[in-house]
């Protein structure tokens, strides 16, 4: 066996709760359990025992359970201790387990071991990693559907369709007495076209997935001193950006983020763009322009004194700040759907601004019941598969079947790379179950 430590960690969220679950995984987990309950029993697998657990001169009545390998979450020997809630007890029990030779688990280490031990497929493990690292609700959701094998289900479905087509083609290649009828060819072509359409959709929607995973980049631009930094602070409810009445206070790009309706929005507050001789400010202005290029959406800030003339081809919102001091009705009457009147100072309309940003970037794309590809590796694999299928379709009537079969096989393999599974025998088995062949 790999020389891996026995690890321990709190499996439930830290803080006050009714029950806390402490998980131990590794070769020594059983003996640690025996020591901590002062009893050398041979635990029946997966059976709950009510036992006194001794730690730091204290004791607590806990539920303990032993999962012998490989039938456990990590594939190793695993012990779970359910103690009474409250961080204090759990922490002390963990200390006791550590003193008995275990080490504290890293973030995600249980899942990593589950993958190493073949308990999770590649995409499931990736999903768990995404879940652990998730900062927003939608990120967590994407990660969790990966973990539960949602993607695998979809991919396996396309793979199965390709396997059927391949079995059909292969049978006719290995048994020359069978020729293609026009109907059969059309059916195959139809099926390929359908898969192509679905893969295209997956790829198209993956841009939404990437937005969910990486967050939406919002650039705040405008002339000096229109209140860009105040707006950043108002949106994130922090004091991250320094706000003064001096024009040109912000020199570097300041980043901050907020979550709105399960999505992470990353704000980039930039130096006011204008002609400046200050060398530091000049660099800041350059960076501001760069930020503008990387953004998913641009907030053009203006006030009653300064218009915002910055041009961009990105989606943008005209934000007129200082609604609290502007009395001129001209502004209030001139609103259109891309313009909003806010006050960073009083918070007026800040929530409406958040909704507007949300609407303009992601709202129309999101379907909370849908699976979005959020992993660039998965997206690449799907793109490859789509390419091969496109080749097969475009050559279908002009090229011989050995080549078409090779293209479809490549598509099948590319999809298999997502879940880490590829297997040639399935095609051969399919041939036999579907066709009557023989000498």
């Amino acid at each position: 066996m790999l020389n891996m430590d026995t690890i321990v960690a709190l499996a439930t969220p830290a803080g006050n709760s009714g029950v806390a679950v402490i998980r131990i995984s590794g070769d020594n987990s059983k003996s640690i359990l025996q020591k901590i309950i002062h009893e050398k029993i041979d635990f029946e697998p997966r059976k709950m025992y009510l036992k006194k657990v001794y730690f730091a001169g204290l004791e607590d009545v806990c539920l303990v359970v032993f999962f012998p390998n490989p039938h456990s979450y990590t594939g190793e020997d695993v012990v779970e201790i359910q103690s009474h809630g409250g961080y204090f007890i759990a922490e002390k029990i963990i200390d006791e387990v550590l003193s008995l030779g275990a080490t504290l688990a890293d973030r995600g280490e249980f899942s990593k071991r589950a993958f190493i031990n073949g308990k999770l497929s590649l995409d499931q493990a990736e999903g768990i990693m995404d879940l652990i690292n998730a900062e927003s609700e939608m990120q967590a959701k994407a990660g969790s559907s990966l973990m539960q094998g949602e993607l695998k289900k979809i991919i396996t479905n396309y793979q199965n369709q390709l396997t059927e087509i391949l079995a059909d083609i292969e049978a006719k290649l290995d048994y020359p007495e069978y020729e293609y009828t026009e109907n059969e060819s059309n059916d195959i072509l139809k099926c390929l076209t359908n898969i192509d359409k679905n893969l295209s959709k997956l790829i198209l929607e993956s841009s939404t997935g990437i937005l969910i995973k990486n967050g939406i980049k919002v650039a705040i631009v405008g002339s000096p001193n229109v209140g860009k930094s105040s707006l950043l602070n108002a949106l994130t409810k922090t004091n991250k950006a320094i706000v003064t009445s001096v024009a040109g206070t912000t020199r570097d790009v300041i980043e901050a983020e907020y979550e709105y309706k399960g999505i992470i929005f990353r704000l980039f507050d930039t130096a006011g763009i204008h002609d400046s001789n200050d060398i530091v400010e000049k660099i800041g202005i350059e960076r501001a322009k760069q930020t503008l290029n990387d953004a998913d959406i641009v907030l053009k800030i203006s006030d009653d004194k300064n218009d915002c003339n910055i041009k961009t081809n990105k989606p943008s919102i005209n934000v007129i700040n200082k609604s609290d001091i502007i009395t001129n009705d001209l502004y209030k009457n001139n609103l259109n759907k891309d313009t909003i009147f806010v006050s960073a100072k009083t918070g007026e309309n800040i929530n409406n601004l958040k909704q507007l940003i949300f609407d303009k970037t992601i709202n129309h794309k999101i379907d909370s019941n849908k699976l979005y590809l959020t992993n660039t590796r998965h997206i690449e694999c799907v793109k490859h598969a789509k390419n091969y299928i496109n080749n097969a379709i475009s050559k279908f009537n002009s090229t011989s079947m050995d080549i078409i079969s090779s293209e479809i096989k490549s598509a099948w393999l590319s999809l298999g790379e997502i879940t880490g599974e590829t297997n040639n025998e399935t095609i051969i088995d399919m041939i036999f179950s579907k066709f009557c062949l023989g000498k």
């Binding site: 066996m1 790999l2 290649l173 090779s406 000498k439």
Partner: protein, 620 residues
Amino acid sequence: MDFIDNYDAIVIGSGHAGSEACLALSRLNKKTLLTTFNLDSIAFLACNPSIGGTAKGQLAAEVDALGGEIGVNADKSMLQLRMLNLGKGPAVQSLRAQVDKVTYHNEMKHTIEKQKNLDVLQCEVSEILVENGKVIGIKTSMNECFSCKAVVVCTGVYLNSKIIIGDFTKQTGPNGYEPSTMLTKSLINLGIEIRRFKTGTPARVDGKSIDYSKFEIQPGDNLNISFSPISKKIKNKRVCYLGYTSQEMHNCIRENISRAPLYSGKIKGIGPRYCPSIEDKIMRFSDKERHQLFLEPESENSDEVYVQGISSSMPTDVQRKMYSLIPGFEHVKIMRFAYAIEYDCINATELKNNLESKKISGLFFAGQVNGTSGYEEAAAQGIMAGINAERYIDNLSPFVLARNQAYIGVLIDDLVTKDILEPYRMMTSRAEYRLILRQDNCDIRLTQLGRDIGLVDDKRYKIFKKKLKQIDEIKTTLNTLCNPKKLEKLFKEKNESLPKSGLTLKECIKRNNITIFDISEHFNLFKNIPKNVLDYVNTEIKYEGYIKKELEYIEKNQHIDNLPLPDIDYNDIKGLRIEARQKLNKFKPSILGQAKRIDGVSPSDINVLLVYLKLKGIIK
């Protein structure tokens, strides 16, 4: 022990594996003895009178390219030659020859008789003599002993064979030849695992009782080539016929299905899915209205006809009735009944990839005894076992072909890594590098290797070298740049858009509608080059992109596939599923690629193994 004579190697069995094995050994200067039950059964074609077929054509040509005999022998007895799958692409095109089964046997027997270093003896081998885990000789049923350093077992379907026709069963080999009743026991005593397989063959009928007007003629193709490049071009001498079963025949089989040994439970051996009997076809695919059948001549000097597609083990009265219900067979006279045959074979996963037993040094197995079916599969193993027995005797490293080098490599790798649960037949879909393993490049892939080993004689090598030179010349010519004006007429004719700037002739051939033959005709080139050489170059050019992709894939995988696996107790790797641990401990694969292909080892098991090797510092 008194030995009658001392040999380097002894080959048991003179079928298609045994013939290749004994010829390879003796041609590699090993003093060899071939034993057979019956000298009249050397290279006997017990089933179809044909050599080749999809993937099998490649196998036969690969054996030929290495310096084997099957291709040349097929040419000597050829009645008809066809290229299958002409419309489906070069990667799946295969040669198939109808041969005269009498001539085929006679020619092979004579070749063996003429061979230097090779003795032949009609006898029954009853025991393989082993000392300290090493082969030392054999003993016959008449208590004669012969010493040797290596034995190649090529017993085909003859180990404890039993034929079954309805209720009638008999301990016999095909065609009334004797079965081998003692050798299985000797193998079991040596610790070899025995299993039981089954196969079958159709009836042979009297040609003059057939109404050929109800069949479609299947003539040979005018290919102007032969199976082996060293043979003279052959001529088609006979035709075959295509016909169909009828609903009446299907009904007859359904009514009598309870009398079919396969369904009554009389047959216990495992039969091949790809070679089902007619009763199996009709029961399993009941919605199919009719099944194809082919009539093949057994010999030029005989009216016996082989009815391909209608193998059966029905009782004789049902056979008489059902065959007569085939359109054109109304008055048919059966000359030999169809039968099923059960036989002992070994579990080939007990062999190393040089076809030598893992338990006993110097004990090699080849052919149907390893669980395969088909003459070509047998011949392929025969030549490899022969070569490797020689290398064992001479203390040389094993000769193993990779899956990307030859169908032979695919075949043997499958046999020694997969639990074969039915007789194994080669198919093009078993080869993942099919675009590279073509009928048209068998010699390019293997003849140099055969030369290095010592099996390719001067005559074959000279022909091979000439072909290489021709290919070189063609390629040079095709690289010349051509003025678009000179191409105008051809491109217009072929419906291709004419490029503005000049392009090479090779680039022209890459166009969909233009072949090397169009170019050679248009420019009056390559007049003295044989068609098959041009075919080869044409394919290489047209498939260049795909071949490159396959080669890249091979390279990408080679690194990981060739990772050597140390001798590990897989029970120590707890992440592996129990089944995977057991299988890996049983097979003890030498490289990761082999581990990957073992049934019951899943991709996630391979991940676990990879991580283990990485953590252990075995791979970086």
